[in-house]
């Protein structure tokens, strides 16, 4: 589980990321913007599951918190869209931390079930009568498309792409700093050897709830960006399926490295489109088959495959 900053991968990728919006159709720019947003969410999940060993099936709820925070602030209070991001992040962090406090007494599958309950409840809470003046009920909220600053020679889609790219870069840097430092060692120790970790003086409950909070924060920021990019939120966007989708993306991408977040996001964005093109009758079956193939052929995720391949090349060299 090497977490060094692999410049040989990052430099070309960063270059591509910067050029991409200028060579693509604008709807494809939107697709890649969604990839960036998904990768932020998956990075949060990887911190939680890959590094800390906790399983959440309820991150769709934090995604909804972020999305509705952005939408309500923009629509109701006229807050500029960029200013909604820190608020969404903070709310996500607090909500995740508070949910984490009692829930983290639960281990393994019990935690997964508790978080799953959160995912089940989310659409109903969003539809609730008492919240309707803010959430718009089942109809949701429609937002205005943010315009790029006038002095920049980019269109609205390209601008949103770069906003998301910038936020993602910040958050990935933060995640990388977390996992390679003292905190990272503590949270992985809790995953690998909980008893030894505690006996060495690591406050397991504290680190677990903080990790849960940080993970929820990433998801909430992703949710806020998605609301800004699609200019629409409604309870139906945050059904149970969303949380499962995040989980699938994380596992396929690879839980043990942050690169898995990007790969998982590409998978979630493009494989369903591919499945739809192959079969209108049963796109679910095609998606399922690809998924099973991935899990069988790459048990450590797509990111894990890179490690396996470099290892093979090294052996060949000997």
């Amino acid at each position: 589980m090497q977490q060094s900053l692999n410049l040989k991968l990052i430099v070309p990728l960063a270059l591509v990321a910067l050029v991409l919006p200028f060579v693509l159709e604008s709807y494809q720019v939107l697709q890649f913007t969604m990839v960036i947003i998904l990768s932020i969410v998956l990075a949060g999940l990887i911190l939680l599951t890959g590094f800390n060993g906790q399983v959440s099936l309820g991150h769709g709820a934090f995604y909804a918190i972020g999305a509705y925070t952005a939408a309500i602030l923009m629509n109701g209070a006229g807050v500029p869209y960029l200013a909604t991001l820190p608020v969404a992040a903070l709310l996500g962090l607090v909500a995740g931390y508070l949910f984490g406090l009692p829930a983290l007494r639960l281990e393994g599958h019990y935690l997964a079930l508790a978080t799953f309950a959160l995912a089940v409840a989310t659409p109903q809470i969003l539809k609730h009568k008492a919240l309707e003046p803010w959430t718009g009920g089942v109809q949701g909220i429609i937002l205005d498309k943010p315009e790029p600053p006038a002095w920049l020679p980019v269109d609205a889609d390209q601008w949103l792409y770069f906003v998301c790219l910038f936020v993602a870069a910040l958050l990935f840097l933060l995640a990388w700093n977390i996992v390679r430092g003292k905190v990272g060692r503590a949270i992985t120790a809790i995953r690998d050897q909980p008893i030894a970790a505690v006996s060495m003086g690591i406050d397991a409950a504290k680190y677990k709830s903080i990790t849960f909070g940080v993970s929820a924060m990433y998801t909430a920021v992703g949710g806020a960006l998605s609301a800004i990019v699609t200019q629409f939120v409604a309870p139906d966007s945050f059904a149970i399926f969303l949380s499962i989708t995040f989980f699938v993306g994380m596992v396929v991408g690879g839980v043990r490295s942050l690169a898995g977040a990007l790969l998982g996001a590409l998978f979630l964005q493009f494989v369903p489109n591919l499945a739809d093109e192959l079969s209108k009758a049963a796109p679910g079956i095609v998606f399922g088959a690809v998924l099973i193939g991935c899990v069988y052929l790459m048990p450590t995720g797509i990111a894990g495959l890179y490690g396996v391949l470099t290892e093979k090349v090294r052996r060949l060299r000997r």
Binding site: N6, K8, L9, I10, V11, P12, L13, L15, V16, V19, L20, V23, L24, E25, S26, Y27, Q28, L30, Q31, F32, M34, V120, Q124, K127, G137, V138, Q139, G140, I142, S226, T230, Q231, F232, V233, A234, P235, D236, S237, A239, I240, F241, L242, P272, N273, A275, D276, K280, A281, P283, G284, F287, Y306, L309, T310, V313, R314, R317
Partner: protein
Amino acid sequence: MRVAFQWLTGIAVASTVLLSGASSALAQKKSSVGASDTEIRIGQTMPYSGPASALSTLGRLHTAYFEMINEQGGINGRKIKFISLDDGFSPPKAVEQTRRLVEQEKVLLMFAPYGTATSAAVRKYLNSKKVPQLFVVAGGAMWGDYKNYPWTMGWMPRYEIESRIHADFILKNRPNAKIAIIYQNDDFGKELARGLREGLGDRAASMIVKEVSYEVTDATVDSQVATLKESGADVLLSYTFPRFSAQVIRRVYDIGWKPLLILSQTSLSVVNVLTPAGLEKSKGVYAAQYVKDPSDPAWANDPHLAEFRAWMAKYYPSGDINDSSNLFGYALVKTMVEVLRKAGDDLTHENIMKSAAALDMEIGVLVPGIRIKTGPEDFYPVEQMHLMNFDGKSWHLTGELVDGTRLK
């Protein structure tokens, strides 16, 4: 060697992403607005995957219908290129796919996109691009807002029309009724319940004794039915989807409650709802409807349904003939073809909307007498419904055809 491999991988990944993007950008052809002398391009988003995938039969039926049109030489000599994409019932995905259809596939219009949230998510975008969003498959009042969204039109009777007809019926026949309502907690159930309250007017507060809701993800509504019985109501309105309607009918009968039961038009199928509930238990239920039920023996010899059955057998044999979604989709696509025929050779966005807003036609699979009518200030194609009563074998039309707009 290892270092070189890593650099190589990085560059390979980078160039693959770039190339795949660039090649698809280069590959697409330029055409004006989705119509030429030989082709009309039509887009659609449909929940082929996800929680609403059962309803994607609409998209498959439409694909089959346009194939038949092309076999017969197209419309005004133009073949239809129909592109129906999966949105998984997710609004963000619907935005992405709709933009792909408009920006890359260059469709002339969007036809029968399914779902309230998915269609609401793209309405503003389509209107800003002036791309017609025709015959949205959702029943909210929002789909006929010609002032704010002149490029968007619904098709089916909006929910409130149906429940206003129910209210009118109750006021006339059971003026002293005590009313209970069970409704699905979404736009469908809520708008029906609202329409009923509006239809009852100032009597709503005294007549409605109990309202309960359920979620579409619930397993049963047994406890809700028990609660409603306790209220002492003698009229029950069931604003529920088919599976729950069958449960309501059975439960009401089994606990010995005998209210006047009124169902929503989603749940009239003799084969799919009333038979599972029990035909004897369903005896006496009421509903307002606008399409014929293909499984109702009352229409066994109806020539229009015979034509529909023959069409299904030939062009869409994998579809379920008793699934009322198919009949509904059939009526929708006939309306679409009529709009394109009327538009003739002037296939601009403006003229498409003009033709869509000048409809006056009958479609045989609708309840007799119903006309599909639109105007520059009327973006609601179907606004009439007929009350029906079930006698234990089949539905019978009762009273007259009601124009929902005439009710207060």
